[in-house]
């Protein structure tokens, strides 16, 4: 450690201490910025203290990172990880330079598990060499910012190429991850819960991206689809097909809005969150755990004893209403949420909130790619809409066959809105900044402990 890097770390830590313990403000960007201004090579210097895993992709990064953290901790590793929302280079630098790194109880090096924004992977790997890249999925997301799915993947590939020794552990059900001219060792996880006798060869629905075979550019067929363009795919005109899976979901037992039970490599597992997409997150964490020699039983315990980490899908009570808050940000994520609502056995109401600020994506046209029509297959009893772009959402749901809606132009009426819904069970689906505003209102009204 050089004098410069020591000074950089001390400065970052004291600014972090000032922000958190004195001013009670979150955020790790400022300490990161300070550290880099003193020692531009700080990341390279501190990397000798730990092994690094980079988790990237469009949907599910935060929960997957949290799950990997618990799994590795269960295996006796000391783990450093970044808070959700600090997934750009400065926040990550801040996290790493201010972390207290204790030795791992299992005698191995500590591990940094970092959720990294797709466009920031290369900035991280220019300075640090990870042991593993974990690729969750790439869906269309906020195109006004990053562009198309292949452009997004190209950014990740540019990052991977800085670290040819790292293992690339990717979602084998996503055809895009067979692409890329990097030389790294590749391993895949995916779903194999359908028996060959039950295969029903089909193509993806029209509103699905990334369905062309990279070899012959034909439309891929599937033995089965889990959701969106994920599944057991193959080309009909050449040998292109899903790669061999190293880790697989071998059965699915229960899918409910509150929990799922399934097996991975024949280990029965349970997670306290609904949605097939969350089984992918669990599968990813399972695969990473096994790669780092954590045994299956310990992974099982890690999932079962950490129910509170499934926090993005929040449950709370508002004057007798059982409210579940879900984040929606792109068509695939929204369709997954709707699929989860299909498994809801109780009558429920939906309050949908749309904003179009930078963090939401400023183009609202994605709501037309989400299949709100499928809500007719659920026990939905009422629909209400709101948010800064309530007009867009009101018309979307009207054209999906929900003409009678309560419309809230202003989120200060949110508690009124919830109380006015006719069912005890209420789902609130909100885009990112709408969710922040919602939480602020519910906090001020005393329904979320500690405010926001």
């Amino acid at each position: 450690m050089t004098l410069k890097s020591t000074l950089a770390r001390v400065t970052a830590k004291s600014s972090y201490w000032l922000l958190h313990d004195v001013l009670h403000r979150g955020g790790t960007s400022l300490p990161g910025k300070l550290a880099v201004s003193i020692d531009p090579n700080i990341l390279t210097t501190i990397q000798q203290n730990f092994d690094l895993i980079i988790v990237t992709g469009t949907n599910g990064k935060t929960l997957t990172t949290a799950l990997i953290t618990r799994v590795l901790q269960a295996g006796g590793y000391t783990v450093i990880t970044n808070p959700s929302g600090s997934n750009m280079v400065q926040g990550i630098t801040g996290t790493l330079v201010t972390a207290k790194v204790k030795p791992s109880p299992n005698g191995q090096k500590p591990i940094a598990v970092l959720e990294v924004d797709e466009a920031n992977v290369e900035k991280i790997t220019a300075a640090m060499k990870p042991k593993m890249f974990v690729l969750t999925n790439i869906f269309r997301d906020q195109l006004d910012r990053y562009g198309e799915i292949y452009t997004t993947y190209d950014k990740i590939i540019a990052g991977i190429k800085h670290a040819p020794e790292a293992v690339v552990l990717a979602n084998g059900d996503s055809p895009i991850f067979t692409r890329g001219d990097f030389t790294n060792e590749r391993k895949y996880f995916g779903f194999n819960h359908v028996q060959p006798a039950d295969y029903k060869p089909a193509v993806a629905p029209i509103n699905t991206d990334g369905i062309l075979s990279p070899t012959d550019h034909s439309v891929l067929k599937y033995d089965f689809i889990t959701y969106a363009n994920l599944g057991k795919y193959f080309s009909t005109s050449d040998n292109f097909a899903r790669p061999k899976l190293n880790y697989q979901v071998t059965s699915i037992n229960d899918l409910t809005p509150k929990y799922s039970t399934f097996s991975i490599d024949n280990t029965p597992l349970r997670i306290e969150i609904g949605g097939l997409y969350n089984i992918y997150n669990a599968l990813t964490a399972f695969a990473v755990g096994r790669e780092f020699n954590v045994d299956s039983e310990k992974i099982k315990t890690a999932f079962e004893s950490n129910a509170q980490i499934f926090g993005r899908q929040e449950a709370l009570h508002v004057d007798g209403k059982d409210v579940t808050i879900v984040l929606i940000k792109n068509p695939v994520g929204t369709n997954s949420v709707i699929d989860m609502m299909v498994t809801e056995e109780n009558d429920f109401s939906l309050l949908a909130l749309l904003n179009a600020n930078y963090a939401d994506g400023i183009d609202t046209s994605w709501i037309w790619d989400a299949e709100f029509e499928k809500l007719h297959d659920t026990h939905i009893k009422a629909v209400a809409t709101g948010g800064e772009r309530y007009k867009d959402l009101r018309v979307r749901l009207k054209m999906a066959g929900f003409p009678d809606q309560a419309v809230y132009e202003d989120l200060t009426q949110i508690v009124t809105a919830i109380k006015a819904l006719p069912t005890e069970k209420v789902y609130i689906a909100a885009t990112y900044t709408a969710m922040l505003q919602l939480r602020e209102q519910l906090g001020a009204a005393g329904y979320i402990k500690g405010g926001f």
Binding site: D144, E148, S218, D363, S365, W366, W368, D369, D392
Partner: protein, 243 residues
Amino acid sequence: MANFEISVAHLYGNLMNTYGDYGNIIALTYYAKQIDVAVNYHLVSLGDNFDGDNFDFALFGGGQDYEETIVAKDLKIKADQVRHYIENDGPLLAVCGGFQLLGHYMVMADGTKVDGIGVMDHYTTNMYDDKLTVLNGKRLTGNVVIKNNDTGETYHGFENHQGRTFLGENERALGTVISGNGNNGMDHTEGVIYRNVYGSYFHGPIFTRNGNLAKRVLATALSRKYPEVDWTEKLDQIETETF
């Protein structure tokens, strides 16, 4: 059962449907249903035949660069059929990439020139082209408002494109740009009208936010098939969504 029906062709709907383009069909169907018209949806994609005589409306949306290059090759095989449909006054909405590929050519951000089928007279350069005097090297992204000079109607939408389109001599704009950038950021045109073809860079999608245009196109499609009915009058009686 509805008393009337129309058939809609979604050209390459599985590959060219990147910004909610399918919403245009949702909107069209929404209005059609209220006037007792059923909409039959047909995907026409790679390797499929496009017989325009079977269709009353066609949608050709936008895609990602890779999909667009694959579609451009297949579209050449359908070029005569598409030309026949257009010259026969078939109603068509072409958005973004679809709009570009009906013209002579388009140039992608990386400089790759992709042949269109030239059934319409416009062409598309990329955002780095020397002739661009404004916003060179920038995507045109943001809210856009235009005025249709034929009808006086105002349309709202969101644009997000790197390609810059220049209209040909026998084409007129869908509208004059009131705010935003439009086809190329330079000549205040947005989109195109040629016979019953409407082209645009509007996402939103355009029919969902501009019910007046959706109804106009629907009336055109229905009047070709059922000329004995006054469709405009029927459509005037139902509520129009504009926002």
